[in-house]
């Protein structure tokens, strides 16, 4: 009996039934809902959301689109990050193609808002450490997401970590649109740019948490 045959015999003897298929979409949505709720509560406890934000959301279609598109991007990228726990020959970028296009459109809206603001920029609701808040809120949820994915089979530890960190960073960045001052450049520099940092931290955490056990 050669080595692969021995291995096969051993693996067959060790076979036990597994549960049903893993629902990555459900896990991603559950993670996203918890992340949004906890982050929103923490943000509100530190400092109330921007005054008049609900009126702005209801009365300004462009702002409404920005918020809703941001939510779609968060959902798509969270799902893409969780999908990385399941082996697949398609690259993460290819799997998250639609979400990445949405992200590009979302960023495009902010860039366009620099030229043609949705409403006049103001310092109402300014949060002095908003960029730091994005980094801090993303961290526990990056770890939580990686702990969930760890039970599956993430093949690319750093890549999965980076996607998870990016998805976790986008949620507070998205909420900052409602909580912090409204100014397109401020939004890009202080809310969205830190998501690159959360992706790097996520990659490092991924290498640490998802290393082959």
């Amino acid at each position: 009996m050669n080595t692969p045959d021995k291995t096969i015999r051993m693996l067959v003897d060790d076979l036990t039934p597994t549960g049903g298929p893993i629902r990555t979409g459900r896990c991603a949505v559950a993670w996203l809902i918890v992340t949004i709720l906890v982050t929103a509560v923490c943000m509100a406890l530190i400092q109330p959301f921007r005054p008049g934000v609900i009126e702005q959301f209801l009365a300004t279609p462009r702002f409404t689109i920005e918020i809703l598109l941001g939510l779609v991007v968060c959902i798509g990228l969270a799902h893409a990050a969780f999908r990385l726990g399941i082996p697949d020959t398609r690259s993460p970028r290819r799997r998250a193609r639609v979400s990445l296009v949405m992200l590009a459109i979302w960023l495009g809206l902010f860039a366009f808002a620099i030229l043609a603001p949705v409403f006049p920029s103001s310092n109402d609701g300014e949060r002095p450490l908003c960029f730091l808040e994005v980094l801090v809120y993303a961290l526990p949820f990056t770890i939580a997401g990686l702990v969930i994915v760890r039970r599956w089979m993430p093949l690319d530890a750093a890549g999965t970590g980076a996607w998870m960190g990016f998805a976790a960073g986008l949620i507070p960045a998205w909420l900052m649109q409602l909580a912090c001052m409204h100014a397109p450049l401020h939004n890009l520099y202080f809310h969205l740019a830190p998501t690159l940092g959360t992706a790097v931290v996520g990659a490092w955490l991924g290498m640490w948490l998802l290393r082959r056990r």
Binding site: T7, L15, T16, T18, I22, P87, T89, R90, M153, L155
Partner: protein, 172 residues
């Protein structure tokens, strides 16, 4: 695989035998009659067993299987590249001289894959993976630092992985 997930040992054994043959063929087509094929096949089988709960019967099995095989093969080569003593070639040199055999076909296919890499990437893969030189030795041979060799090897393996992915996508 769906039957195996329910605990059907007969179906699982049949599946693993077929998978082992597929992996063996896949690896030989890329690396030729290298001595490490059995080791990689074994690692792949263990990974498949450990990760069998992640397979979803509603999705393509090949994509799931080959993602595991490719990553395990690259992991193995990386580890091996770091540990192998110098001068112990992996390929059966005689096989390269026997035209018309499976081995010679495999060598041609592996060469075709290598030919798609840049000369720098090809060179560093051949020296570290085929001839078993350490990064330091390759650095001395090429007149570059050890770190530069490692970076170049990392990029070369990444490129090779992308080539595998393109091939798999084409096959599907």
């Amino acid at each position: 695989m769906a039957a195996a997930q329910r605990g059907d040992k007969t179906a699982y054994e049949k599946l693993l035998i077929e998978i082992a043959a597929t992996i063996d063929h896949y690896l030989r087509a890329r690396f030729g009659p290298a001595e490490f094929i059995d080791d990689i096949t074994q690692e792949c089988l263990l990974s498949i067993h450990k990760g069998r709960h992640t397979y979803d019967a509603g999705r393509p099995f090949r994509a799931w299987l080959f993602a595991i095989v490719r990553h395990r093969a690259i992991d193995f080569l990386r580890r091996r590249g770091a540990n192998i003593p110098a001068g112990t070639g992996n390929f059966d040199a005689d096989a390269q001289t026997r035209p018309g055999t499976d081995e010679s076909t495999a060598i041609v296919e592996a060469s075709l894959m290598l030919s798609q890499l840049s000369s720098e990437h090809r060179d560093v893969i051949v020296r570290t993976q085929y001839f078993g030189y350490s990064a330091r030795e390759v650095g001395a041979q090429l007149g570059i630092s050890t770190a530069a060799v490692r970076v170049r090897l990392h990029r070369a393996l990444r490129h090779a992985r992308q080539l595998f992915a393109t091939e798999d996508d084409t096959q599907q």
